[in-house]
């Protein structure tokens, strides 16, 4: 009987504790919603977008960018993105937490955190960002497990499209003032954000960051001292390559190692060359899966790429070192004295990985990857980050509305490494001439196409395309096998 009594004591103890806890728990979970009870419909067209003409961002005299140092004060010219954003600046969501997931790690993560700091301080909303190198896999586990972060940053619209088709993402046209979206993005961005849901097309996300990929970086000072000329055509590029090699140096720095995403820089190269060797229609068909990988067009592109990659005297470390070199480390030998390699084709975000203390425009610069076939003009390959929303709470609405404004990216643009897709951003934000040049390159392009592998279904764009090309570069399989393998993996 003594034992029984002890058990009873434990039991009653448990009951008391759990009642106390449930009391606390209930209070904690119920408080925030009641505070923010009335979720005002966003559709109400707040002040029509009068103040700002819908011109390209460049010409606009920039609004004095909303200074948000003073808490609980709505910035004067707050963009009419939605009611929750106003509420947020009035401090209504103080102390709430918005979770975010994305692929930014290391230096990128720091720049992202810094760019949202002012907003967090002004509104009291805590945006908890967690970046992962295994993003493509981990986000699927989270979302399909019913445990989605509030906001997810997708560098691959194709991956987002699969979640949209499953009806998991929230239609942002009900969250953000549609007039504002039309005003702040050029139509092609909005088109790319519109995706097919189970009940018709929805606005699946907002574009928060863009970058141009058709750029070849070089160590400007040494480059000029060596007397090299910037190539205007592909032939000149190959001639330059040969010249550097003959001077006893290695022309190219190339690395495609990127954890589970190993191989993606190779796909960028192929896409860039595809744009220069075939029509935009063919590129679009290829991205949709209508043009096979095992086709003369794709083969030609791969062959042009491998003419550089597989020539051991053209690549720093040789072909075999390409799959083992981290893409962020790849450009670093350019900045040794003397440079150990001279050319690096990569998106503008790569400047984040450059060694510290380099001066843009002096120590490094870039040139546009030259056209191959004149009839296809000067196309630009680009990419971007689309932010999608998975949980509908007022504070999450405020944050996603915030991301639809150029202000959300201002600090990152200033820090370098990001191009703003927003119309209300200002070219003066670009602190260095190089990043401004990227923004100009995107504007001057005869055609702009989104990174193809990011648009393809995940099984190809984040799977077989990367893997097969990695195996091809390392020599494990030949080109025929690689291309067939990718074609077979395309989901039918």
């Amino acid at each position: 009987m003594k034992k029984n009594r002890i058990l009873w004591i434990i039991a009653s103890f448990m009951i008391v504790i759990s009642f106390v806890l449930s009391a606390c728990g209930g209070a904690a979970t119920q408080a925030p919603p009641s505070e923010t009870e009335p979720p005002p419909p966003v559709e109400q067209p707040t002040q029509a977008p009068v103040e700002q003409p819908t011109e390209p961002p460049a010409e606009e005299p920039s609004e004095p960018p909303a200074e948000t140092e003073v808490p609980a004060a709505v910035p004067e010219n707050l963009p009419p993105a939605g009611q929750e954003l106003v509420d947020a600046y009035m401090g209504k969501f103080k102390g709430t937490v918005v979770t975010m997931a994305g692929p930014f790690t290391d230096a990128d993560a720091v720049k992202f955190e810094n760019s949202i700091l002012a907003f967090e301080e002004a509104t009291g909303i805590d945006i908890q960002y967690s970046g992962s190198k295994e993003f493509e896999a981990s986000i699927r586990i989270q979302i399909e497990g019913g445990n989605a972060p509030d906001i997810v940053d997708f560098p691959q619209p194709g991956l987002l499209a699969t979640f949209v088709s499953q009806g998991r993402a929230i239609d942002l046209s009900t969250v953000i003032n549609p007039d504002w979206l039309k005003q702040n993005y050029i139509q092609s961005w909005l088109d790319m954000a519109t995706m097919e849901g189970p009940n018709g097309p929805i606005m699946a996300g907002v574009w928060a960051r863009a970058n141009g990929k058709s750029s070849v970086w070089y160590p400007k000072k040494a480059f000029d001292e060596a007397g090299y000329q910037i190539p205007e055509t592909w032939d000149e590029l190959m001639a330059l390559t040969q010249q550097i090699a003959e001077d006893g140096d290695t022309p190219w720095c190339i690395g495609i190692e990127s954890g589970a995403a190993t191989g993606w820089p190779m796909t960028d190269w192929i896409e860039d060359v595809m744009l220069r060797t075939t029509s935009l229609e063919n590129y679009d068909r290829w991205v949709k899966g209508e043009l096979k990988f095992d086709s003369p067009e794709v083969r030609r592109a791969v062959e042009l790429v491998t003419a550089i990659w597989f020539n051991d005297s053209y690549v720093y470390g040789g072909r075999k070192a390409i799959p083992t070199t981290f893409f962020g480390d790849a450009p670093k030998p350019m900045f040794e004295d003397p440079p150990k390699c001279w050319l690096h084709r990569q998106g503008n975000f790569i400047t984040t990985f450059f060694p510290e203390g380099l001066e843009p425009g002096v120590d490094y610069d870039f040139f546009y990857l030259p056209p191959i076939d004149e009839q296809y003009g000067r196309p630009v390959l680009g990419a971007g980050d689309i932010y999608a929303m998975f949980n509908d709470r007022p504070e999450v609405r405020a944050v996603i509305q915030y991301f639809s404004t150029g202000d959300s990216l201002k600090d990152w643009v200033k820090a370098g490494g990001a191009i703003s897709p927003h119309n209300d951003s200002d070219l003066n934000w670009y602190q260095d001439p190089v990043t401004r040049k990227v923004a100009e390159m995107i504007k001057n392009a005869t055609a702009f196409r989104f990174d193809g592998s990011d648009l393809m279904p995940g099984a190809v764009g984040a799977g077989s395309f990367w893997k097969s090309m990695t195996d091809f570069v390392s020599g494990s399989i030949d080109l025929d096998t690689a291309l067939k393998q990718i074609d077979e993996s395309w989901p039918r």
Binding site: S18, C24, G458, D471, E488
Partner: protein, 372 residues
């Protein structure tokens, strides 16, 4: 009760009033228990409290909850008449385990089986298509081959080396020191080991002004050889990966085998020596037969280990360059490519491949009367 004649109803009412309290309690106590546990669960799920509070609550809730459930159901049974009690009591002890087994093992297995016959989104049935894919796709065949390599070479080296070291260390003066060193890698996780060995195998390439930082390439260069991209040349890169598992698992095999060797009675060995047996004969005629059961257990454990191997490949190569294994392909299909059907089919195949080994293992246990 105004009636004095003890009618049937009256007697029943009597019984009810005297037992009403007990019945009510028997009803209320489980309900309250359930409510308490449920509240704890809700709290854990939704709380924004500091982590330390959540951890403490989780411990109290988990351990206390289990004790509470047991106490309540035990008490409930004791309220029942004598005759029923012994028949119900076993279920109090076995029931939770059975329920958890069913919930966490049987149902998921069954669901996986169904998924494996369906398409990528588990929407419609596609027959055996996923299995046909699993056995005909080039990458899958490569994965099967690699798993076979892991199984044969990984297991035989782990057990062989473990046995050798155990026997040799048994006669050494510094036995515990040797064993500690060999056993040490066991404390390192597979992912951690992968990161360590990535540095061992690092390859920087050839060309002007490139210096290797990888240990293995440094050794090769010091011996006058050429640096190699160790993890890029199939099929040899598989063996470089298998080395990692051997490094990790030999300690486990050694410790288990060593304890079995210690269990051999000394008079048996002495009798053999008196009879004129040499050490080799003793090893093959006495030691091996004596520890046969242990050897089999260790072997099957490591075989199962190498069948489901995932971490090393994932961390080191991601399955690129012909190093893919079944478990990694399963992960890719499910979480990168989003094909639930193929992933489930691979999982089922893996399960079926492990079953014979498991059955064999269990039979061994039964022969040695580990279970009764």
């Amino acid at each position: 009760m105004e009636t004095s004649s003890p009618s049937l109803i009256g007697r029943w009412l009597d019984w009810l009033t005297t037992n009403l309290g007990r019945i009510l309690i028997s009803l209320i106590v489980p309900v309250v228990t359930f409510f308490v546990l449920w509240q704890g669960f809700i709290f854990l799920r939704e709380s924004q409290a500091p982590k330390i509070v959540i951890v403490l609550v989780a411990i109290v809730w988990g351990v206390g909850g289990a004790a509470l459930l047991y106490a309540v159901s035990n008490w409930l049974i004791e309220q029942l008449p004598q005759g029923v009690r012994p028949r119900l009591l076993p279920f109090v002890f076995v029931g939770p385990a059975l329920a958890i087994l069913a919930w966490y093992l049987a149902i998921p297995t069954f669901r996986t089986l169904i998924f494996s016959l369906q398409d990528a989104n588990s929407m419609r049935f596609v027959g055996l298509e996923n299995y046909i894919f699993a056995f005909t796709d080039r990458v899958m065949r490569e994965a099967f081959r690699n798993n076979l390599l892991w199984m044969v070479f990984g297991t035989s080296f782990c057990v062989g080396l473990g046995l050798l070291i155990a026997v040799l260390a048994d006669r050494s003066r510094f036995e515990s020191a040797y064993k500690a060193i060999i056993f040490m890698p066991m404390a390192i996780s597979f992912v951690g080991a992968g990161v360590i060995w990535k540095f061992v195998y690092t390859y920087k390439g050839e060309g002007a002004g490139i210096s290797e930082i990888g240990l293995l390439n440094a050794i090769v260069l010091a011996l006058g050889g050429q640096s190699q991209p160790w993890l890029q040349q199939p099929p040899w890169n598989n063996f470089f990966l298998i080395v990692i598992m051997i490094w990790l698992q030999t300690g486990f095999a050694m410790v288990v085998i060593s304890s079995a060797i210690k269990g051999i009675p000394t008079d048996l060995l002495e009798a053999a020596r008196v009879d004129g047996a040499n050490e080799v004969q003793i090893f093959f005629r006495i030691t091996i037969p004596y520890i046969q059961g242990t050897l089999l257990t260790v072997t099957t454990t490591i075989v199962i280990f190498s069948l489901k191997l995932f971490d090393i490949v994932r961390v080191m190569t991601g399955g690129n360059n012909g190093t893919n294994v079944i478990a990694n392909e399963f992960y890719l299909q499910r979480f990168t490519y989003g094909h639930a059907g193929r992933a489930s089919a691979i999982a089922v195949i893996l399960l079926i491949a492990v079953i014979p080994i498991m059955i064999y293992n269990l039979r061994q246990f039964r022969e040695r009367k580990a279970f009764r």
